[in-house]
Amino acid sequence: MSFNANKHNVGCGDTVLLYVGYDNMLPVVVEKGKTHQTKFGAVKHDDLIGKQFGTRLQCPRGWIYLLRPTPELWTLSLPHRTQILYTTDISMVIFQLDLRPGSIVAEAGTGSGSLSHAILRTIAPKGHLHTFEFHKERSEKAREEFHLHGHAQCVTVTHRDVCGEGFQLEHTVDAVFLDLPKPWECILSAKRAMKKQGGRICSFSPCIEQVQRTCEELSAKKFTDIVTMECLARHFNLQYAKLQNVSFKTIDETIDPQAEADSEPPVKKANVTPSSRDRRGDSDMHHFTSAVPAINMPGHTGFLTFATLTSNDVN
């Protein structure tokens, strides 16, 4: 239930995230009498019950925070059963599929449920997600998770290979999402699943050849407005950066007749300068706050193809 907007205190059976550090969260289901080990020491579940989300806990060796799970934080902390979708793509999918409270959605496959959680947040409480997974164990795990997270009413998890057997839904959904190796094989079934008023479809594929076949099939099945896109998040790190200021002699120093008279080579003289300046510490430094893009970033997740089925073309 902890994904709910109106929940502000931790209860028994709630999933909470123990925030240990940036992008480092442990998902925990609170159960009376249990204990959880973190790198900062043990956490007794009994101590969590009744606490407000956001509470900072003093553990033996450091602080951890008790966070309310959001689909975004869940995506960062969920147990990976497959490759997952991340928030940049997920956001685009939800937006481009026109999802909102009350929408009916079909999803294949369920995978690790990363996208499912974001869909459920958007369509709850009156919408419904039909999610399909061809891997039995995964579909069971997902069902458990959805129940634990208070989504039981809004989701139906089915263990089925939609490519072979289809969605078996007749004009019931507003939107279809496909993350399958051969999405083109179930475009027709997806079309049949769409409401008579029409709807939106999305296919996520890592390879361009998959996209090409999918677009061909979408076009053949009278989907319109077929658009393929890619979005990549680029994160900035904030740095207190510094660059060394080089020293320039003023003209006065330069034409110092004493130095000339000594016929001391300029190089020598120059060499004396740095050490004395260095000792002053950072006075020779140019300081600034710099937003530096992360050196390594995801270069590709997948191509997102969206299309519309209008009421005209449903049959």
Binding site: Y65, L67, E72, G198, L232
Partner: protein
């Protein structure tokens, strides 16, 4: 509640790929579409999803294949192998501009015009298949105004601003969609929003809270008006009871219990009638075309920009006139000849009769908004032309711990400041500062590649989770 056919009074999107316009459909109404006056009567009763061609000011429904699939007969099967023998000359096309204008005037369809153009091109048949396709696509877009009638959604409405993204602070689908995700706004959420995106962000959030949530739009006191144009596009008048306004200026007064006793918001909900959404209409009247950010010009023409007073900056930029023409019936760009009857304008009239009653309502709504804020919020969203840091820091105390905060800005620099402030005050966790690379692809047999033009920036996002600053220590385990 949602009808499948266009009804009198509906807000309707005219859509083709990457292009959208919104019009309110009324009997006997004419609208301007791409400089052509158009009768929209014919749409009433038609199912959403229907496709129309414009034929001499009339809408003609196209049955069968959609506009984008319009075939062009046998012409394209005749192709050259490469462009080696082509010279780029104006004389390649024997038809003149005047010829084309005359055909249009005579009511020749766009399809026919293109066939004529091909017939009269000396080089078309010598072009490669690739070049031919490119040529056809260009001509189709120019001469065949075809579009599909759609129910408005945030996605389609976003297209409207593609010509002038400064109106919505350069929000792109990727940044808007992430803003919505990271805000964690859902059914029943209590949200504060500061936006100058024509109500686009407000509308998207409103859609997501459903009928159970509450949104308080915070409005700077030293601004003349905020625009909520997009609310009309999306037909959100009915949800207005969930939207409150509150002057940023008064935030500090919330800390003084005397002036803002903790009211039971449910009590107020009961008195409030459905029509009272109007009470926040005060901010709804004046449409601001202004773009503060754009007061800053490139260094080259900087003297110019600096010379403008802030009032002038508010009055918009040179592109605005072009745009309003396209908007058709929206806000201050009412089409000539059409009756002034947009939702916005009607509210103005309603406001008239009893000013005192309106004032009282407004006051009550504002008090309720104050209560929502003091009872603490689930999310804060900032996407505006105001300096975000002071607003953000001011609002932090009104958020539950573990709440979601999103600050969007066209510029990176102000978000660096936000980041630093939040960090230095230990006010948040999971601080993320990001931009998005957004790229579209052309997927065509033997011609697949990323699109030639792309958007260089969709703005920047700063997101984080609020945290309790003082830790509750508990006994380490024995």
């Amino acid at each position: 509640m949602e009808h499948d056919h266009v009804e009198d009074g509906d807000q309707v999107v005219f859509h083709r790929e990457g292009w959208s316009r919104v019009f309110q459909i009324r009997r006997k109404r004419q609208v301007y579409l791409d400089k052509t006056k158009l009768d929209v009567d014919a749409l009433i009763g038609q199912p959403y999803g229907s496709t129309f061609e414009v034929d001499r000011g009339k809408l003609v429904k196209i049955e069968g294949p959609a506009a984008s699939e319009l075939s062009l007969g046998e012409t394209s099967s005749d192709t050259g192998t490469d462009n080696r023998n082509l010279l780029d000359l104006d004389s390649n096309q024997k038809m003149s501009k005047e010829d084309i204008m005359k055909m249009k005037y005579d009511g020749i369809t766009g399809q026919k015009i293109i066939e004529e153009l091909i017939e009269n091109s000396e080089t078309f048949k010598m072009k490669t298949e690739f070049s031919q396709a490119k040529y056809l696509k260009k001509k189709k877009k120019k001469h065949i105004p075809v579009f599909t009638v759609m129910r408005p959604t945030p996605r389609l409405v976003l297209d409207i601003f593609s010509k002038d993204p400064s109106k919505i602070c350069y929000l792109r689908a990727d940044s808007l969609s992430q803003l919505l995700s990271y805000s964690n706004v859902m059914y029943g959420s209590k949200v504060a929003v500061v936006e100058t995106c024509q109500g686009l962000v407000l509308s998207c959030l409103l859609q997501r809270i459903g009928e159970a949530g509450k949104i308080v739009q915070l409005i700077p006191s030293n601004t003349n008006a905020v625009c909520r144009q997009v609310m009309d596009y999306l037909g959100f008048a009915k949800f207005m009871e969930n939207v409150y306004s509150f002057p940023l200026d008064e935030l500090s007064s919330l800390k003084d219990d005397r002036s803002f006793p903790s009211l039971n918001s449910k009590y107020y909900d009961k008195i409030e009638t459905n029509e009272d959404g109007v009470s926040s209409g005060q901010y709804n009247i004046t449409v601001s075309n202004g773009s503060f950010c754009d007061g800053g010009e490139s260094l080259t023409s900087n003297e110019n920009a600096e010379a403008q007073g802030s009032d002038e900056a508010f009055d918009g930029e040179s592109v605005a006139p072009d745009l309003t023409e396209e908007y058709g019936d929206c806000g201050n760009a009412e089409t000539e000849g059409a009756k002034i009857d947009s939702g916005m304008q009607m509210e103005v009239k309603k406001l008239g009769p009893n000013r005192e009653l309106q004032r009282q309502r407004r006051e009550k709504r504002q008090k309720e908004a104050g209560t929502i804020i003091t009872e603490k919020l689930d999310s804060l969203v900032i996407a505006c032309k105001y300096n975000p840091t002071p607003i953000l820091m001011q609002m932090l105390s009104y958020l539950h711990p573990s709440s979601s905060v999103v600050v969007y800005c066209q510029h990176l620099e102000p978000l660096v400041e936000c980041y630093t402030s939040v960090k230095d005050n230990h006010a948040g966790l999971q601080l993320k500062l990001s931009e998005t690379w957004f790229r579209e692809y052309q997927i065509l047999p033997q011609r697949t590649h990323p699109k030639i033009n792309m958007s260089g920036t969709g703005g920047y996002l700063f997101t984080f989770i609020t945290s309790q600053s003082n830790s509750e220590s508990f006994a380490p385990q024995s």
